[in-house]
Amino acid sequence: MNKNILICGVGGQGTVLASRIIAASAMNMGEKVMSAETIGMAQRGGPVTSHVRIGNDVFSPLIPFGQADMILAFEPAEAVRNLKYLKKGGTVIVNTVPVKPVTESVKDTGYDGSAMTAYLKKEYKCVFADSDKTALKFGSTKFFNIIMLGIACGIGELGIDGTELVEQIKRSVPAKYLDINTEAFNEGLRTGEKYKGDQ
């Protein structure tokens, strides 16, 4: 298997856990995995990316431009920022809920993510998600990363078994949140399955 998955968002959205779950699941399936993450000053509200690379013929921990099979974007502008990594015909799974940069709020430029979403819809194979709905249904946006994993799995392009991902989620989240995370994963899975094949 050869898969490059780019996960992006804003510091604090749970992108790192999502990337670790994908990587660990692939490893458990006997695949060679490599990844890279943003750590340090950039984490403080800045853009964050995790690159997950699965396969034998891989050297760079960062995905080369135009080679990501899939982008899991937790924020619409971050999806657009990272499009250079996406391969031709690749899929973008994107949260339509924007995180406004403080600089935007201070300057009142009115960024609301809609221009990003519209552009993505026009140009790319997209699956849209909504973290506000997650917050309403599950009581918090903190389960959104697991929903994103579910979607990625559901559209059938991740190359990793759902059962393997669920096993890994079990190992990665506190026991008391296991049920709600499993529910979140299944919710994502159903959303993804709707898009399967007919994007």
């Binding site: 490893m27 050297f59 201070v106 990003m116």
Partner: protein, 594 residues
Amino acid sequence: MTEYIMGNGAIAMGALKAGISFASGYPGTPSSEIIETIYKRKHEGVYLEWSVNEKAALEGAAAAAMSGARALVTMKQVGLNVASDPLMSLAYVGIKGGLVVVSADDPGPISSQTEQDTRRFADFARIPVFDPSSVEEAYEMIQDAFDYSEKYKTPVLFRPTTRVCHAYASVDIKDYDRPAVCEGFVRDSSKWVIFPRLSYINHGLIEERNVKIGKELSSYRFNTVEGISEKAVVTSGISYAYVKEALKDLKEVKLIKIATAYPFPEDFVLEALRGVKEAICIEELSPYLEEQILKTVGKYHLDTEVSGKINGRVAHNGENSVELSERVLRAFLDTDGKEEDTDKSDIPKVPARPPVLCAGCPHRASFYAVKQAAKGRKSIFCGDIGCYTLGNAMPLDMVDTCLCMGAGITMAQGFSHTNEDTACFAFTGDSTFFASGITGVVNAVYNEADIILCILDNSTTAMTGHQPHPGTGFNLSNGNTVKADIGKILEAAGVKKIITTDPLDHKRSVEAVKECLEEKGVRAVIFKSPCIAIERSDKKCAIDREECVNCKKCIHETGCPALIISEGNVTIDTTLCTGCGLCKNVCPKGAIGG
């Protein structure tokens, strides 16, 4: 057992496998996770500490190594500047047990002040340096570094870069034993006491030894040659991975990887360059390999054209990537570039997203209090290294200078001696204060500077991942320990005016700064409130919709990321808000409560 492990984790596990019984360091991105990994993993028989700074870390490790123990020291590249005093001398004196100094370089720079190159430091100090190109290699190579250190009785530098430190890979991590008890220090003043005579003798011996090490490293397993061609690429570190990736789509070249930049493996390079007409050096930071290759070509009158950073074929600054390597290689191999297949002209403009202080960060409240108190007065605000460097961003705009660890305190003094009628403020975090701020305070008192010292005490080393420090009352070897009291240290240094305040108590904090502004000499305000990532808060602020007039003053004054505009109204993002209440103090209508 195969583990999915971070580069820094692999370095830690490699050091444990090598049998270290002493490890010390000072936090700094991208090196911090090495000590943290050792702490979390099995390490009986290993003494472990977060030192007060890099100099202390290396000096402690030097003594351990002089006692025959294997010792590891970790820091980021600018930390090596702080540790350079002991390092330079230790290079002359030497050690007994293996001593490896990990100095993590940060091309970009991504989280650093400089793009300095640790390989130059190795050359400067005349000690070997190892440069891993992947996580797997880092695990193996750190073990080799200990062997070389012990064999040649010299400290050895190990320099991974950010993309190796923070990459993850599946690595076969071997089990390791508790380290053997070291022999102990054997007194010998002709050996361990640095005197001019000893330095003179050892300097000669070191230069002789380095020739030998260079020869031995010529057959080192990680100095490698792949392929046959008249065109060669010379590379090292993560650039090797980028070049390998870029070469997938390009024709054959000879690929020369140099994992030991100093002592330069000249025999290996001479052999590798045989039949090579053109060589290009693709490396990050300085053109170190390029200079050595040029030197070798000149020395042996080789008919090889050498290019790289020096002749402008490769950029001097910034981090390398697969794309940059590919562009350089295409030009070098006269291969056409890939065609851009899509028109990107209608791509919407992506908003800039600079890092900011977290919602509820006590530093924001401290900066805002000083800003309010100093309003209308000519002031200079000296910043320092840590999360609070982010106080420079609009709308706070409270950092006029930032140079290096601890410099804020001493620079404020310099400004006070040269700028009349100016309030000179120094902002220093608690960890920075202990690392290199205290001597600056002593200097200020001694030389009668006129400064206001603002200690931003959030009870942790936040930026690098919340490591403990002397003010936290916690250490890595025993857990609870004596808590250093910043106020008492200032008092002992002779600071007469010291006010401690909770920055979230806005009124009192403004008063404290105003009170200091009325006086002369060295005055200090200790703003004490824990980092929001350490002490979680369930409190939330709430906006009274009836009262709020949407003037946005709260946003424009504080820049708190939890204050957002939603459907035209100022709204609090309750997922971010910690209820710090700073916005309550700003609101002219008293519309914020909670």
